[in-house]
Subunit: 204 residues, 4 copies
DNA sequence: TATGAATGAGTTTTCATTCAT
DNA sequence: GATGAATGAAAACTCATTCAT
C-alpha cells in the first residue's frame, strides 16, 4: 500500500502524507482535471515545486491515492470467510462498507470519479485482481445458496448491490442530505434500512 | 426536456442538438473540467467559435445538459400514483429507472459527476423541487406501509436504494463489465436481481 | 462634412446617421479599441452585418467621425476676421469653443482620444490644414498685438490656451464634476472665468 | 509612489519596474483596451506568462500605474502653502505642473485616457481625496483674493485652468508639435506664455 | 530540501469580418 | 438591403512542469 519506504526521514514521510491527504481532499471534491497542483500545495501548506519534489507529477499523486483507496475497498471483501453464519457475514460486509462510506467518503468519491470516467488507470486491476476476488467470493456465496444457508441469489449482483447501496451514501451525500433535510443521520438510518433489506433478501 | 422553441431555424435547432449531444458525450466521459470546447466542437463537427455562437460559454452548455438530464430523471418518479398495486408500482419504477440507466447512461454519468462534486449547479433544485417530490411520494409509500399493502419500510431510503441500485449499472458500468467479463448482459441480469430484491423487501 | 451623397435613399441616409451617432457615443466613451462593432450595432438598433453594409469596416466609421469632428472644430477658428474689435473676436472664439464643448462633448472626446494616442489618422491634417490655418490666424493676432490693439502675446500659444481651457470641460468632465460636486454648472462658471482671464490677458 | 516594499528580491523589484515602465509606455500610447499583454511583455523583454507572474492581470498593472500617476499629480498641489507670496506660489505651481508634463508625459496621457473614458477606476478618488484637497486649497486661494493679495478669481476654475493648460502640452503633444513645426521648444515657450498669463490674471 | 522564477502549451473567450441567402 | 450563420486570428489568462539556486 505504501510506496517504496527506502530511508525516508521523518519530515519526508510527514510531507508525503500531508500531500496525499491534501490531494485526496481536492481530487475527491473537484475531480482530477478540476484540481490544480497549486490547490494541493496550498491545502498541504507546501510550495508547488516542493509538492513536485515528492511526487514526480500530478498524475503520480493521483495514482498513489487510487491504489491506496482501492486496497482499502478490497480489504473487507477479502475477509468474507467460508466459516461462520452466511447471512451474518454478508450483513457484516454491508455494514463495514457503510462505515467506510461514512468514515472515508473522500476515498469513495475519488474512486467513483475514476470509475465514472472509464477507469483509465484502474481498468487492469478491475478486470484482474478485483474480478478474481469477486469470482472467489461469488463461488462461496453460490455455495451458501446451494446449501440452503441463504436464499438463492445471483452472487455478483448481490455484491454490486452492496457496493451501490453503501457507496451511494458517500458519493451522493449532498443529494441525500438535501433530500432528507436537517435533523437526520443518513448513515444510521441507512444501516437500519440495509439490515432490513438484506435480511429479507437472504432469508432462506 | 426541450428548450424554449422560440423561432429557431431548422439549422439552428440541428446545430444546437449536435452540440448538446457531443457535449453530453464528452462531459459524461471526462467531467466538466476535463472536457475542452475543442473536443466538443470536434465531436459535433463544428468549429469552436461556432459552438460558442450557439452557447455563450462552456458552462452554458453544461447547465443546459444538466437541466435536461434532471428533468429526465424526475419524470418516472412523478408517475408513481396512489392508485394501482403498491409493490407493482415500486417495482415498475425500479424497472423504468434501470432501463434509463441502460438507454441513457451518459445522462446518468453527467448527473453523477455533478453530484459527486458537490452539486454546485444543482444544489437549489435538490433541496427544492426534488426534496418536495420525494416528500410527496414518501408520504404515499408510508401510507401503503401503514395500510399493510407493502412491508413497513423507510420510504426515502427505499427511494435512495432504487436510485443507487439502478444508476450503479450506468455510472459504474466499466467496473460491472470488468467484473462480469464477457458474455453477460448486466442490465438484463440486474433486472432479475432487482425484481427479486424488491419483491422480497416489500412483501407484506 | 457629409460623405459622397450619391443617390442615397431616405432609409440609407437615416441608417448611416444612426450608425455614426451610435459609434460616436461608443467611441467617445470607450475609445476605438475598447469599442466593438456589436456595441455600435446594438446602440444603433441594427444588426452587425448591416452596420458593415454601410461602412466597410470599424475603421471606416472611425475615420468618418474624426473628419466630421475635425471640421466642426476648425469652423470657429476660420471665422476669426481682421475686421472688428480684436479682443472681442478672441473672446468670442473662446466662448464659441466652450459652447461646443458643452454641446458636443462626445466629438471633443473622440478627438482627444485620437490625439492622445499619437493622432495616427490625423497627423497629416494637423501638420497641413490645421497648421496653415493657425499660421494665418497667428499672423493676424500678431498684427493686432503690433498695432497695440491687444497686449503682446505669443499667438499660437494663445490659441493653444483657448483649446486647452475649453476642451478641458468636455474631456475631463467627470473630473470637473467630481471636484465641483452637485449644484454647479461647470460651463456657465467656466464662461465667466474665461472671460475674465482673457480680458485681463489681452488688455493692451 | 512606490509599492509595498515587502521582502522583494532584487530581481523581483527589477522586473516589476520593468513591467510597469513598459506598460506605462504602451498604455499611454494606445490606451488600456488598445494594449495587449504581449506588447507589454515584449517591451519589458519578458515572456507573457512571466508578466502575469508578477501582476495577476492586465488590469492590476493598469491600476498600479494609475495610482502612482495620481499620487505624482497630487503632490505639487499639496505643497501650496498659506505662507509666502500668493501669486508666486500659484505661478510656481503652474511651472511645476508644466515641468511634469514635460518630464512625465506618459503619466499624463495615462491619466487623461482614464478620465476621458469616464474614470471608471478613479471616480471614487476624484470625488474623495482630490475633491477634498481642492476644497482646502481653494479656501486658501479665496482667502488670498479676499485679502487683496491676488485678484478675485474663482479658485477652482483657476486650478482647472492650470491643469488644462499644463497637461495640454503633454496630452496633445503631437498636435502642438505639428502646429508649431520644427525648431520650437513647446515647453519653454509655454512657460513664458503661462507666466505672462497668470501674472496678468492674478495681479491685484 | 526547498522555493522563487520562468515558460510552453494550452484553454476559454472575443471580435472584426465574411458568406450565403 | 438585411441578417443568421460561421470563422480565423487574436487575446487574456491557466497550469503542469522545469530551472537555478
Amino acid at each position: 500500500m505504501t510506496e517504496k519506504p527506502r530511508r525516508e526521514s521523518r519530515i519526508q514521510r510527514k510531507n508525503r502524507e500531508l500531500i496525499l491527504s491534501a490531494a485526496l481532499q481536492e481530487f475527491s471534491a473537484r475531480g482530477f482535471a478540476g484540481t490544480t497542483i497549486d490547490q494541493i500545495a496550498d491545502a498541504a501548506g507546501l510550495s508547488k515545486p516542493n509538492v513536485l519534489y515528492y511526487f514526480a507529477s500530478k498524475d503520480t499523486i493521483h495514482v498513489a491515492l487510487l491504489q491506496a483507496a482501492l486496497e482499502m475497498w478490497l480489504a473487507p471483501l477479502r475477509e468474507i470467510q467460508a466459516e461462520g453464519d452466511a447471512a451474518d457475514q454478508l450483513l457484516a460486509y454491508a455494514r463495514r462498507k457503510l462505515e467506510m462510506s461514512r468514515d472515508y467518503p473522500q476515498e469513495s468519491r475519488l474512486f467513483a470519479n475514476e470509475i465514472l470516467q472509464g477507469a483509465p488507470r484502474l481498468a487492469p486491476i478491475l478486470g484482474g485482481e478485483l474480478r478474481a476476488l469477486v469470482e472467489e467470493k461469488s463461488a462461496l456465496i453460490a455455495q451458501w445458496s446451494a446449501q440452503g444457508r441463504i436464499a438463492p441469489v445471483e452472487p455478483r449482483h448481490l455484491l454490486f448491490s452492496i457496493w451501490a447501496l453503501t457507496q451511494h451514501y458517500a458519493d451522493f451525500e449532498v443529494q441525500v442530505r438535501a433530500v432528507l433535510g436537517e435533523g437526520h443521520d443518513p448513515f444510521a438510518e441507512a444501516q437500519v434500512f440495509l439490515d432490513q433489506l438484506y435480511r429479507r433478501l437472504l432469508a432462506p
